[in-house]
C-alpha cells in the first residue's frame, strides 16, 4: 500500500518542474532537428530498432504477434514526439524509474544525438527503494553494473546499517550485481572491523554471523525437507494447484495427527501398558473380525476408555501416576494442540485470502495475471488449461454483461420458490437420515440385548454401513439439487453444496452422540454389569472410521475412478472421471471429525487415523495420476482452502463442545474406565485440587489455582480482552478511512497527470506552427476546465463571480495563473555566474500573458482557486507546510532537495502574486540543481 501512495501533490509539483524542464530540452532539440534531418527521422528509427531491439523476430517462436509487436512499438515511437514518452515516465512517480533492458527509445535517441544523459535509471531496484534514485543518472551500458550495485548498496545502508543476505536475495537484479553488493557489504564489514578492533566486538560479531548462518540454514532445511514433496509436485504438474491443494490438506492433517498421537500415546497408553489390569473375560480370542468391528477382543485393550484404570500406577518405584488425571489432561492437551494449529492456519489463510483481498474484488486481474499455473509440466494439462482459461474468460465476460440486465421479478420469484422447495427437500432428507440413524441404533441395541451370545459382525457394522452409504450417495444428490437451483456464480453453488453436505454428515454424527449419551440409555445400562457406554461409543466411532475408509477406497476410488477408466475403453463416449476436490476434502473433514469425537473414548484412534491418512495419500495419488482427468472448472485454490479450514475449525469446535458436555455434565459409566464411581469426569480434577489445597506443602499451588478460578480473575481477563478488541477494531476502522483517503488522492493525481500531459501535448504540437495566438487558447481553456472540474468543494457561485471578473475575452486569453506557468516559461538565468545560460521564453504570447498577469493584482484569483487540487498545495506556505508534513510521512524522498524545491516554488508563486502592478516581471533566479 505504502509504496504506491508515495506520489502526492507535492510530488506532482516537483515532477512538473522536471517535465517542463525536459520539455524545454525537447523543444530545443527539435528546433535543431527540424532544420537538419527532419526527413531522416523516421527512417532512422526504423533502421535502428530492429538491430538492437530485444525482441525482434524469433524464428523459433510460435507466436506471430512478435513481428506486429515491433511494428506497434515503432508506431508508438513515431507517434509520440520522442522525449514525450520519457516525460510520461517521469510523471507522478507511480512509475519509479524504468528498467534496464528497455532501451529502444534510448537507441533511437542516441542515434540522433547524445540524448543518453537525459535518461534516468532503468533499474527496478529504485522501485523497491523509493523515488529519490530516479534523479540519479546512471549510464546504461558498460560499467553500469558496478554503479548499480553501488547505488543499491548505499540505499540499503541508508535504510538499515547491516546488509544481510536476506535483503540481497530479495532484490530483483541478476546474480552478478547481487554478488557485487554482497562483496561490498563484506568489505564494509571488514573496514568496520578494522576501525574498531575490540575483542568483545569481534566475538559478538562472529557469533551473530554464525548464528545467522545457522538460522538461515535450518530455515532452508525445513523449507526444503517437506514430506511427499515429490508426489505433490507430480500431482501439481499434471493437475494444477486445485488438486494439489487437496493433497496438501491431506498432508497437513497427517502431520497434525502425528504429534497428537504421540501425546496421547505416551501419556495415556504407555503408563497403562506398564501396569495392565486383568481382563474380565480371558477366554476371548483374537479372531480377525475385530479389525472391522472393533469389538470383542479389542474391547478390553488400551484401545478403549473402559480398559483404563481409575487408580494410580506405581510400576516404577517411587512414582505415582494418577491415571484419571493423566487421561483428562492428555486429552485436553491434544485438543489444545489441535486448536492452536487450526486457529493459526485458518487465521493466516483467512487474513491472506479474504481480509486483504476484500477491499476490491479483483476478479479479472487474477483471472488474467494469475491464470497460468507455472507449475504445470504436462502437455495435456497445458492444453486443458488453455481451453479452461479461454472458456472462463468468455464466461465471466458474458456474466458481466448479463449482470447488468438483472433478473426480472417473475424470474426472481421463480428462483426463490425453487430454492425454498429445495431447502425444504434438503431439510426433510437430512431429518430423515438422522431419524433413520436413530432408529437403526435403537433397534440394534435391542437386538444385541436380546441375543447376547451370537452377535453377528454384520449387525454390528450395519449402522456404520448405513451411514457410510448415505455419505456416499447423498453428496451426489445434494450437488445435483444445488446445481438445479440456478446460482449466479459457480462459486456460490459450491459453497451451498459444501455447506449442505457438511450439515448432513454432522447431523448424523450428532444423532449417534446424542444416542449414546442419552440418560435413559445409561440408566438402563447401569443395571447391567460389564456394559460401558463410553466403550460402546468408541467402538461405534471406530467402525465408522474403518467403514468410511473402506467405502472411500472401494467405491469412490476403485469403482468410480478405476472401473470407469476401464469402461471408457469400451464406451468411447464416457470420459475419465474428474477428481472432485470438494467431495474428497469433505470426506477428509468428516474423517477428522470422527477422530476428534472418538479420541476421548478411544485414545488409540489417532493411530488408526494416521495409518488411514498414510494409505489414503498413496491410493489417492495413484488413482488421480492413473484414472482421472483434470477438472474442466477452474479451481480457486486459495479461497477454497480458507473455506475448508473454516469448516474444519467449526467441526472441531463442535466436537470440543460435545466433549466438554461429556466431561463436565455426563455421568461416566458405573464400573469401567478411569472415572468409575464419580458423578462427573471433571470431579477427578476437583478432587485432586482439594487434596493439593489441603496439603501444606503445596499451598502455593492451591492458592494460584484459587486465584485463577476466581470470578474476579475471569472478569478482568474478559475486560482486558474486550478492551483490546475495541482498540484493534477502531484502529482497523481508522486504517480503512486512511486507505480510502489515499485512494482518492491517487485518482486525483491521475487526473492531474492527464491534465499535465494534455498541456504538454498542446504545447509541443503547437510549437511547430509558430503562427502564434491560437495555441494559448487550448491551454487556458484546459486550465479553466480543470478548475471547474476539480474544485468540487468550492460552491458554484464562486465560479460565476469569477467569470464576472474577466469581462473581456482577451483578458481570459492572456490571463495565466502564475502557478501553472513554470520557470521554463519564464526568463531563466542560471544562478552560477560561471556559465550563464539564458533562456528566453520562445512563445511571445505566453510571455505577454505573463507580463499581463504580473500587472494585475492576483490575490483575487488566488481566492477563487481555493479547493483546486493544484492550487491548494501551492497557495500559501502554510498550506504547503501542512501538506508537506502529511506527505513526508509516506515517502523517504530526500527532504532537502524536495523541500527547497517547493520553497522555491512557493517563493516564485508568492513573488509573482504580490508583484507591484507597475513593476515588470523581474528575472527569477532558479536553481538548476533542483530539476
Amino acid at each position: 500500500m505504502n509504496r504506491y501512495v508515495k506520489p502526492n501533490i507535492l510530488h506532482i509539483m516537483s515532477d512538473s518542474d522536471n517535465i517542463l524542464h525536459s520539455l524545454d530540452e525537447t523543444l530545443k532539440q527539435e528546433e535543431l532537428m527540424f532544420g537538419l534531418d527532419h526527413v531522416n527521422d523516421d527512417t532512422e528509427q526504423i533502421s535502428e530498432v530492429p538491430r538492437n531491439s530485444s525482441y525482434v523476430g524469433e524464428p523459433s517462436q510460435p507466436y506471430n504477434e512478435q513481428s506486429t509487436l515491433v511494428g506497434n512499438r515503432m508506431k508508438t515511437v513515431k507517434e509520440t514526439s520522442y522525449g514525450l514518452e520519457d516525460i510520461l515516465m517521469e510523471m507522478p512517480s507511480r512509475t519509479l524509474g524504468r528498467r534496464r533492458g528497455r532501451f529502444i527509445e534510448d537507441v533511437v535517441a542516441s542515434g540522433r544525438q547524445d540524448y543518453n544523459t537525459g535518461t534516468f535509471s532503468r533499474s527496478t531496484y529504485s522501485r523497491r527503494f523509493g523515488s529519490n534514485r530516479r534523479h540519479r543518472k546512471i549510464t546504461e551500458v558498460g560499467g553500469g553494473d558496478e554503479e548499480l550495485a553501488d547505488e543499491i548498496f548505499k540505499e540499503i545502508i541508508e535504510d538499515n546499517k547491516e546488509v544481510d543476505n536476506e535483503e540481497i536475495r530479495a532484490i530483483a537484479v541478476n546474480m552478478e550485481i547481487k554478488r557485487k553488493i554482497r562483496r561490498q557489504a563484506f568489505t564494509n564489514r571488514e573496514t568496520k572491523k578494522k576501525n574498531k578492533i575490540g575483542c568483545w566486538w569481534m566475538f559478538r560479531h562472529n557469533m551473530s554471523l554464525k548464528f545467522r548462518h545457522f538460522k538461515e540454514d535450518t530455515r532452508k532445511m525445513f523449507a526444503s525437507a517437506k514430506l511427499w514433496d515429490y508426489h505433490l509436485k507430480q500431482v501439481e504438474g499434471n493437475f494444477g494447484s486445485g488438486v494439489h491443494s487437496y493433497f496438501t490438506f491431506l498432508r497437513g492433517l497427517f502431520l497434525l495427527s502425528i504429534p497428537s498421537f504421540i501425546l496421547s500415546f505416551s501419556f495415556i497408553s504407555i503408563p497403562q501398558l506398564l501396569d495392565p489390569p486383568a481382563r474380565n473375560d480371558p477366554n476371548v480370542k483374537f479372531t480377525g473380525e475385530e479389525l472391522i468391528t472393533g469389538a470383542n477382543w479389542f474391547t478390553e485393550t488400551i484401545m478403549y476408555y473402559g480398559y483404563y484404570t481409575n487408580g494410580t500406577i506405581q510400576t516404577i518405584p517411587g512414582s505415582m501416576y494418577k491415571m484419571p488425571l493423566a487421561y483428562l489432561l492428555a486429552t485436553a492437551g491434544y485438543f489444545l494442540l489441535c486448536l492452536l494449529w487450526l486457529v493459526k492456519s485458518t487465521a493466516t489463510s483467512f487474513r491472506r485470502n479474504y481480509i486483504e483481498a476484500k477491499e476490491d474484488e479483483s476478479d479479472f486481474i487474477s483471472k488474467v495475471f494469475c491464470a497460468w499455473d507455472f507449475g504445470i509440466t504436462s502437455e495435456d494439462a497445458s492444453k486443458l488449461q488453455h481451453t479452461m482459461i479461454s472458456t472462463e474468460l468468455k464466461e465471466i465476460l458474458a456474466e458481466k454483461r448479463r449482470h447488468k440486465e438483472s433478473r426480472s421479478s417473475s424470474k426472481k420469484c421463480k428462483v426463490f420458490l425453487y430454492r425454498l422447495v429445495t431447502w425444504m427437500l434438503y431439510l426433510a432428507i437430512t431429518g430423515g437420515c438422522m431419524a433413520l440413524v436413530y432408529f437403526v441404533n435403537k433397534e440394534l441395541l435391542n437386538k444385541i440385548k436380546d441375543s447376547l451370545e451370537g452377535i453377528v459382525v454384520l449387525q454390528q457394522i450395519s449402522l456404520a454401513l448405513i451411514i457410510s452409504a448415505i455419505n456416499l450417495v447423498m453428496p451426489i444428490f445434494i450437488n445435483l439439487m444445488t446445481h438445479w437451483e440456478d446460482y449466479k456464480y459457480p462459486r456460490h453453488e459450491m459453497y451451498i453444496a459444501v455447506f449442505r453436505n457438511f450439515l448432513l454428515k454432522l447431523g448424523m454424527l450428532a444423532v449417534i452422540c446424542a444416542f449414546w449419551t442419552d440418560d435413559d440409555l445409561k440408566s438402563t445400562q447401569t443395571n447391567q454389569s460389564g456394559s460401558c457406554w463410553e466403550t460402546d461409543l468408541g467402538q461405534e466411532i471406530y467402525r465408522l472410521v474403518i467403514i468410511d475408509f473402506l467405502f472411500t477406497i472401494i467405491f469412490a476410488t476403485f469403482c468410480a475412478e478405476f472401473i470407469r477408466k476401464l469402461l471408457t475403453k469400451c464406451i468411447p463416449k464416457l470420459k475419465l472421471a474428474e477428481f472432485s476436490i470438494v467431495n474428497n476434502v469433505m470426506d477428509l473433514i468428516y474423517g477428522q471429525t470422527l477422530c476428534w469425537i472418538g479420541i476421548y473414548f478411544s485414545p488409540l484412534l489417532s493411530l488408526i487415523i494416521i495409518l488411514k491418512y498414510f494409505i489414503m495419500f498413496y491410493i489417492k495419488k495413484v488413482s488421480v495420476m492413473q484414472n482421472c482427468r483434470m477438472s474442466t472448472q477452474r479451481w480457486r485454490a486459495a479461497q477454497s482452502q480458507t473455506l475448508f479450514n473454516a469448516f474444519l475449525l467449526l467441526s472441531f469446535l463442535l466436537c470440543a463442545a460435545f466433549l466438554c458436555v461429556v466431561v463436565f455434565l455426563e455421568t461416566p459409566s458405573y464400573d469401567c474406565g478411569p472415572y468409575r464411581g464419580l458423578n462427573r469426569s471433571y470431579d477427578a480434577i476437583i478432587i485432586e485440587f482439594q487434596r493439593l489445597a489441603s496439603d501444606e506443602s503445596s499451598y502455593w499451588f492451591a492458592f494460584i489455582m484459587n486465584v485463577i478460578s476466581s470470578v474476579w480473575f475471569l472478569y478482568s481477563i474478559v475486560v482486558i480482552l474486550s478492551t483490546a478488541v475495541v482498540l484493534v477494531r477502531s484502529r482497523s476502522i481508522g486504517y480503512h478511512k486512511f486507505a480510502k483517503a489515499l485512494r482518492e488522492q491517487i485518482s486525483l493525481e491521475g487526473q492531474d497527470k492527464a491534465l499535465l500531459l494534455q498541456w504538454l501535448r498542446d504545447v509541443s504540437t503547437n510549437h511547430g506552427q509558430s503562427s502564434g495566438g491560437q495555441h494559448v487558447v487550448p491551454l487556458l481553456k484546459r486550465h479553466r476546465d480543470s478548475i471547474h472540474s476539480t474544485s468540487t468543494s468550492a460552491p458554484p457561485s464562486r465560479h460565476n463571480s469569477m467569470s464576472h471578473e474577466f469581462q473581456r475575452e482577451s483578458d481570459i486569453l492572456t490571463y495565466v495563473d502564475p502557478q501553472h506557468l513554470d520557470a521554463s516559461h519564464l526568463k531563466i538565468s542560471d544562478g552560477s555566474p560561471g556559465k550563464v545560460r539564458k533562456r528566453e521564453h520562445k512563445d511571445p504570447l505566453l510571455h505577454k500573458a505573463l507580463v499581463n498577469q504580473a500587472k494585475r493584482p492576483a490575490t483575487l484569483y488566488m481566492e477563487h482557486n481555493a479547493g483546486d487540487v493544484f492550487g491548494s498545495a501551492r497557495q500559501s506556505p502554510e498550506v504547503q507546510n501542512r501538506s508537506s508534513s502529511f506527505s513526508n510521512s509516506q515517502r523517504n524522498n530526500s527532504p532537502s532537495t524536495s523541500s527547497s524545491n517547493h520553497d522555491n516554488r512557493a517563493a516564485l508563486a508568492m513573488s509573482l502574486a504580490n508583484q507591484h502592478p507597475t513593476e515588470p516581471s523581474s528575472p527569477v533566479y532558479y536553481d538548476e540543481g533542483t530539476f
Binding site: E58, N174, M175, K753
Partner: protein, 187 residues
C-alpha cells in the same frame, strides 16, 4: 551428485546458497537440471550459456506460454538472445521457488507480462497476455477483448491513464491470493 559437486568449490556453493533461496544441496540439484538442458556444452564449461531454445525444452517451461519472456528477463546475455548462464538459471529457479517473497515474484511477473518492455502494462501487453493464455483454444473476439480490457482497467488502473504501472500492478496482484500459488516452479 558427485559429478556436480566437483564443479563448484565450497565457497562458490556457499555464495550461491547465500544469494538465492536454496540450500547447497538444492543449488547442486539446480545445476544438475541445468546440465540436463545441454549436456555437452555445460560439462565442458560450466559458465557457458545455454540458448533459449534449449532452456525452453525444460519440462516446466516447455508448456509455459511465457517461456520466451521468462528466458529474456533472466538472461544477462549481451546479445539479448535470451540465453541463460548457470547463474541466470539459478536466479530464475530461485525467484520461482516457494521461499521467494511475494514482492520479488510480483516484480518478475510484471517483467514477464510487460512484452514491449516499456515498464507499463498497456492494452497491447494485456492483449498479448490474454492471447497467449488462451493459446490455440481460440482468442477472444474483439469486443470481448475490449470489454476485458475495460474491466481490468476499471479494477486496477487507479489513476485512469489506461495503463498499469508497476505500483498499480503490485497493488492488485498482491491482493490476489492465487498469485503465489500460480507463480511458482518447484525444483
Amino acid at each position: 551428485m558427485g559429478s556436480a559437486n566437483s564443479h563448484f568449490t565450497k565457497d562458490e556453493l556457499q555464495e550461491y546458497s547465500e544469494l538465492t533461496f536454496f540450500t547447497k544441496q538444492e543449488v547442486l540439484h539446480v545445476f544438475e537440471k541445468f546440465v540436463e538442458l545441454d549436456q555437452d556444452n555445460v560439462n565442458n564449461d560450466k559458465l557457458c550459456r545455454v540458448s533459449m531454445e534449449k532452456v525452453c525444452q525444460m519440462p516446466e517451461l516447455k508448456v509455459n506460454p511465457f517461456n520466451d519472456r521468462i528466458c529474456r528477463i533472466f538472461s544477462t546475455s549481451q546479445n539479448f538472445d535470451g540465453s541463460l548462464s548457470f547463474e541466470d538459471f539459478l536466479d530464475m529457479m530461485s525467484v520461482f521457488s516457494d521461499q521467494a517473497p511475494k514482492g520479488l515474484k510480483v516484480e518478475y511477473a510484471f517483467k514477464v507480462y510487460d512484452f514491449n518492455e516499456d515498464d507499463l502494462l498497456d492494452a497491447e501487453d494485456i492483449e498479448m497476455v490474454v492471447s497467449r493464455l488462451t493459446g490455440y483454444a481460440g482468442s477472444l473476439k474483439d469486443d470481448e477483448m475490449q470489454q476485458l480490457l475495460k474491466n481490468i482497467m476499471q479494477e486496477a488502473d487507479l489513476d485512469n491513464d489506461d495503463q498499469l504501472s508497476y505500483a498499480e500492478f503490485e497493488h492488485v496482484i498482491s491482493k490476489s491470493p492465487d498469485f503465489l500459488n500460480s507463480f511458482r516452479i518447484r525444483l
